[in-house]
Amino acid sequence: MNVDVKMAWRNIWRNPRRSILTMTAIAFACLLLVFMLSFQFGSYDTMINSAVKIHTGHLQVQAEGYQDKRTMRLVVPDPGAIGSILEQTPGIDAYTYRANAFSLVSSEERTYGIVVIGIDPAREANVSTLKKVIRQGSYLSAEDTNQALLGELLAKNLQVGLGDELVMIGQGRDGSVAATVVEVKGTYNSGQDEFDRSSIHIPLKHFQDVYAMRGGVHEVVALGKSLGAIPAIRKAVAGSIENEDPKHVLVVLDWIDLMPGLIEGIKLDLISGLILYCILILVVAFSILNTFLMAVFERTKEFGVMMAIGTTPRRLTKLLLLESIAMTVIGIVVGIIAGCLITWYFQVHGIAISGMSEVVRQFGIPERMYPKLSFLSVTIGPTLVLFITSLTALYPALRVRRLRPVEALASV
């Protein structure tokens, strides 16, 4: 071992109590940051995945302008062509077709204006969670025509049960009146109140007949293998779609375009989190600055002796930096290990947050939150800590260069 390193190491343990306190402060900051960032990242993942799985999917092909206006006539006229493009694109797990129409839906007792969604039962089951959240009755089968699935809350509002009939009146693609009678085949509870209160699903074939869609759909929804692969898939799909007629342009939208609020909400949360962490690290930095400072001022005489016997100021600076960096690194390593252990425990067992249930129902996140360890969540916090504490350590280490051997020796 190098002499300087050895000296720095021994210097640290000259005052074990102080060094341990300093290292604990650093470890505490790292532990907290590792846990909090993992928790944030974990909850974002859960939020994105559940939002994607409940309805929007990772990617959608739509007619240009449909996303904002939701007008019946903005259709994807030949969904089969898009489907075959998606099939040839690597990285796509599943895809399905959907069509939406705002309609008046009446039971014997009640009438509500809601969005009727036409789905392809077999394909839908691979893309969204709809099939898994059926609570009563059963999911649509391929032969069904005038059968419907609706949210539990909507069923309650309409006062209908399984087997009851609903009348739907809306406007077809060509502006004609569209009307049909459907039978309630099942009800679902997705956990997201807004969705359960405002949606009703019928088979796509029947939808296309009733709403005069002439084979068209509104959305081609695709699910990728992972979130990270989506930009590449989007590019590939957009490249393969041929937009010959400028009046009917098809666009590819990813989950960020489909749910702009979600990603901005995440950014807002992340940034406010980072501000909090920076303040916290600053407090820690000032708390340990004294330890670093004292390491210099307590030992003025010692430095005087060292300089008198020929140690260069440069070497003294190096020695001091070695001491503080060694303490920081030990603190950080301990913090990361402890942070990972704690996070890992909760990653397995989950955290139930009391008072969350209303928030949960609004955003459709599960009541138990699972933090998620990842390379980023483990490294961001400690890197910030390392950076700020190193800056802190720099001041005393440079101060020592101003010492003059004679004056230093004279001090007590």
Partner: protein
């Protein structure tokens, strides 16, 4: 004399004292500022919620909240209104509304909305709509076919002022009632969702359209002081027969805001604690250093007959002074920051969609809450003194012989 001695002791090493004080100042500042920021955010959430047609207390026909349908309306509003006039405190304002879900359509689009029939003069005193109209005019009592809609709805429906909008809803005979209205006013709201959801017509127009005669869906009350809500609500509950009427407080009507309120409280206290722990390490370490440097001094004092308890008191006095000064400076800086920002607010427009999604306002005005400030200071002060006991006890335990032998 203790104070004087402590005061002089902490300034024996000004640099060290300054460093630890900066840590305390930043800590206290962040506690106060973050507290005020979140308090402001929640307050705005509550205020928005209350102004967006919720009010402080609402009275409905029993069962309306679970099933807000037309037949769950109050057929004899006069009865309730006379009781109301007697039971609400002076200065309270209230209004009657018809509120049903409806379908709005024009030649190009159709979509679901909430149709609200209002008494224009009274409503203006209760909710946001009185001052929210930016184009055209607010409803007049004789606007039989006038409708006020939100800006976002106008965009979605590709329509404009003066155009027609047809509303459809279920009337009391369970038939579909429809009526054409003309857009006389366009309003803006804090949340885009509000602009898309609500359309306003006069109470009489809504009653006529839905064949309600004099019936109304809800009575909405705003009290002069938000804290009287429980008392007034209990009072009303006692006076109104529960078989016919139900009384709700805003906390029941806005469960999401209520959940946020308790969540944020917890969050703030956790934040206080975390910042304190970070600061606590510094306080302990600095005090320990100050103590170990002066081992000889303490030994001498003890040899001269000073009791251990006095030494402990001396060290604690030093921490006390350090904490008090740091807290004072932290409070001043914190309050100044809040004061500086309270005029313009903190603009979150860059994350407008995110803010909307999370249900918070586009601009946050920090709010100083005596409870938060006291809590922050108490945490720092009490825990700060508690952690200083460790170095103080160390100082008190040196025996004169070993201390004097120490170099």
């Amino acid at each position: 004399m203790h104070l004087q001695l402590g005061w002089r002791n902490i300034w024996r090493n000004p640099r060290r004292t300054a460093v630890i004080m900066i840590a305390v100042v930043i800590g206290v500042w962040s506690m106060i500022f973050m507290g005020a920021f979140h308090r402001g955010m929640i307050n705005q959430m509550v205020q928005n919620g209350i102004a967006t047609l919720t009010g402080h207390i609402q009275v409905h026909y029993t069962g309306y909240r679970d099933d807000p349908a037309i037949e769950k309306s109050m057929a004899e509003p006069e009865v309730v209104q006379t009781i109301l006039e007697k039971r609400v405190p002076p200065g309270a304002r209230w209004t009657a509304r018809v509120r049903v879900s409806a379908v709005a359509s024009n030649a190009r689009h159709s979509g679901g909305v909430t149709l609200v029939g209002i008494d224009p003069a009274r409503e203006a005193q209760v909710s946001f709509i009185g001052e929210a109209v930016t184009q055209g005019h607010y409803l007049r009592p004789d606007d039989e076919y006038g409708i006020v809609v939100g800006e976002a709805l106008v965009e979605k429906f590709e329509t404009k002022l003066g155009r027609k909008l047809i509303l459809m809803s279920q009337d009391t005979d369970r038939e579909i009632a429809s009526r054409a209205f003309r857009i006389v006013g366009i309003f803006r709201a804090e949340m885009e969702a509000t602009e898309k959801q609500f359309v306003f017509v006069t109470l009489t127009a809504a009653q006529r359209m839905l064949k309600l005669e004099k019936g109304i869906s809800e009575l909405c009350i705003v009290l002069p002081d938000r804290h009287e809500v429980n008392e007034v609500a209990d009072n009303l509950r006692a006076a109104l027969p529960p078989s016919k009427y139900e009384v709700h407080k805003w906390r029941d009507l806005l469960p999401l805001v209520d959940a946020y309120l308790s969540l944020f409280d917890t969050f703030i206290y956790i934040w206080f604690l975390v910042v304190f722990i970070a600061m606590g390490f510094g306080i302990v370490n600095t005090t320990l250093m100050a103590v170990f440097e002066r081992i000889r001094e303490f030994g001498l004092l003890k040899a001269l007959g000073m009791k251990p308890w006095w030494i402990m008191r001396g060290v604690l006095t030093e921490s006390f002074l350090l904490l008090v000064m740091g807290m004072a400076a932290g409070n001043i800086v914190g309050l100044l920051t809040i004061f500086a920002l309270s005029g313009s607010g903190i603009d979150l427009s860059a994350f407008a969609a995110g803010a909307e999604w999370a249900g918070i306002s586009r601009v946050i005005y920090p709010v100083i809450h005596a409870k938060d400030v006291t809590m922050a200071n108490l945490v720092v002060f009490i825990l700060g003194l508690l952690v200083s006991i460790y170095p103080a006890a160390k100082a008190a335990r040196f025996t004169p012989v070993e201390a004097l032998a120490h170099t």
